[in-house]
Amino acid sequence: MTISRRGFLQASAAGLVVSFYVPNIVKAMPKAAPQPLPQANAFVRIGTDDSVTVMLAHSEMGQGIWTGLAMLIAEELDCDWSKVRSEHAPAAMVYAHPAFGMQATGGSSSTWVEFDRYRNVGAVAKDMLVRAAAARWNVAPAACKAANGVVTHGKDRLTYGQLAEAAMKLAPPTKVVLKQPKDWKLIGTNVRRIDTPEKITGKAQFGIDVHFPGLRTAVVLRPPAFGATLVKFDASAALKVPGVEKVVPTANGVAVVAAHFWAAKLGRDALKVEWTKPADGGVDSVKLLGEFRTKARTTGAIVVDAGKVDTALASAKSKLEAQFEFPYLAHAPMEPLNCTVKIDGDRCEIWTGTQMQTLEQGVAAKILGTTPDKVTIHTPFLGGGFGRRGNPVSDFVSEAVIVAKAAGVPVKVVWTREDDIRGGYYRPAYVHRIQVGVDANGNPIAWDHVVVGQSIMAGTPFEAFGIKNGIDGSSVEGLADSPYLDETPAKRVSLHSPKTPIPVLFWRSVGNTHTAFAMESMIDELAAAAGKDPLAFRLALLKAKPRHVAALKLAAEKAGWGTPPPAGHARGLAVHESFGSIVAECAEVSVDQGRIKVHAVTAAVDCGTAVNPLGIEAQIQSAIAFGLSAALHGKLTLANGQVQESNFHDYPVVRMHEMPRVAVHLIASGAKMGGIGEPATAPIAPAVANAIFALTKQRLRSLPLRLA
């Protein structure tokens, strides 16, 4: 691999450091909106104190890249792992996601998309350190060895810290050779997280913890219903609350600015506000679902059309029909949304847990009438993201900028949990209607599939690349590319994307949250109708997909498929590919007094190269917990445009006593690396529903799962 690069000096509090970056790879990225670089860019700094600081182009929100991306640099750098620290990079286009063209964390992509760039950074740095040592000793670089943060030649020995200053003065190499996988020392091993020390002592700084002299806290009153707008407000009572300093209007609400959160919250409670009523009385989720069901009986915009599906359906030996329904879902990350903004003339500093730094930077600059280079974004740890902190239309950041601008003081806007649950940007509600014609063996020969649900990308800056021919790819991912459809000669997938006033957003695993449930439930129904074992039926249909087959077989075998489950229990299967990885899950369930209990989940995971198996196991457990919350509990209901749920008492999520045992089995397929943060989310709901069918013969086709 030929690359050109340069190193440069950067002074920091830690002393003199060397920085490197890899501009050719950066140039090869898709171009986003041109933005000047606010400062020099770097992915690693080697301090004179031997510290190795890795700059993360992506946000740590629990998924473990704080450790995983640092492992990539450390692998090639051959540094002392105990000296490695990570930091979030500032907002700058040099940190743009190599595939997305903007700084972003999402799509389960951070590890695979940075696999080459971060390893190259490590290799470049090591090359320069070795040459610096060789020059010092007047020997050939090839005669020197570097390991564990030290370059040696015979008895001579210099640490990376001792070499850092000299190394940065050297011309960077034009070529580096990356290690062969057999030579990896870190990659592929179980490495514990390096953000643990601060996260078990309360020292980790999240956005909500930002504090500096002069900072005020604001709580914002937003419209009570989607579609309602602010008419007028009376702040007199709010201003009498001790600690409340200002009350300012936002784009569509009122912000109470106070000395601290509690005063701001009491001030907000004291506001008198008049809102308009939403048009047509506002969204009612029962009525909306009815409209979606009606739409599902008609063909929508064509996504897939092959063979003559109507003819094939009419002539099929028998026909199965099913409808699957999904509610709106909130992300409910544990850290309520927040954003701190400090404006100083034409400059602005923002502290916020965001998944899209450069986008927020551009939005803030526009609001303030300045340029993006004058907006500094600090990314603290994210107290969960799950998509909620990656909003293409920037809601919580743009609002905070507006509040700080209006208030004329530095402000931290903090959302309450109620604000979060009722504040919109949900996983959209969907209805799927499927008609399948089968042959004499029960195999699908005709598949007509209609999806109804809002587009996430429509009306956002992502529309240009996210919507093609009227199809939002995220509405049909996991369906349009389903391997089951590959095996079905006549098929039609179509999509209705109705507009509603409900703001929607990416939610961990996005479209797969509903497409995997519809597909894996329907396949299970076909197996049952054919009188076949759900595993054998799938394996036969997926015979051209060896990775799916391997994952299914492994999950089934490890779960004891084919052996009797404990009395009163049953097992169900699902397999799904998303974000480049394949996950099969076998759920073991029982029903106790009408309540579904998931005892165990056995997951087989093929994500290609596994950088940190310990971290992967955590993400599989995590995604299963997240998907299980949606399977068992998650549902938002709307009446008159208002979300009826408000907090964890009526929007429950999985808790300790509901968490199943999870066994994770990795498949070393050697396939191209895929993602890991999301792919285990989608299979859990169908695996549980299919197990419930095996146990009760009830086919549950709506989420959350409710037994009759």
């Binding site: 601060e198 309360g202 850290e335 907090n647």
Partner: protein
């Protein structure tokens, strides 16, 4: 009023109804205790009052009186409490936001039940939500912490 917090008595200028959570976070500068729900549903704000776990978000500061408040910052200076060491060993944390509350609840559990069963853990820990779903490793870490404590380590 005065508040005995992490071994130090500090003066606090708060209204009596101000929740202990916001006193600790916004007035005393101890942000390790987290806001998650504001209605004792999630456990992120768990602190100890005289060693018992309480939800600081619904505890008016005025009812604390002279009792001793311990927050995550008061558990150890360096993460050396057996529960914290077990947390590190079991690689529990993900986003980390709920973990102060998880740890404070687990510490209190082990004080009353030095060898908790899985059912004890379910009962004690089900008030602490983790959206990252670290529950399996939280359970492992609690069993491990029990061992560490038994071994006097």
């Amino acid at each position: 009023m005065k508040l005995d917090i992490n071994g130090t008595v500090r003066d606090v200028d708060a209204t009596p109804d101000m929740p202990l959570l916001w006193v600790v976070r916004d007035l005393l500068g101890l942000p390790g205790t987290k806001f998650g729900c504001g209605m004792a549903q999630c456990g992120a704000c768990t602190v100890h009052i005289d060693g018992s776990p309480v939800r600081a978000c619904v505890t008016p500061v005025s009812i604390v009186g002279t009792r001793k408040v311990t927050t995550i910052e008061g558990l150890s200076h360096d993460g050396s409490h057996p529960v914290q060491r077990a947390w590190a060993e079991a690689d529990v944390v993900q986003c980390g936001y709920c973990q102060s509350g998880q740890i404070m609840t687990a510490v209190a559990l082990l004080e009353t039940k030095p060898e908790p069963s899985d059912a004890d853990i379910d009962a004690a820990m089900s008030g602490n939500i983790c959206r990252c779903g670290t529950y399996i490793r939280v359970r492992e870490a609690i069993h491990l912490a029990a061992k560490l404590k038994r071994g006097g380590k």
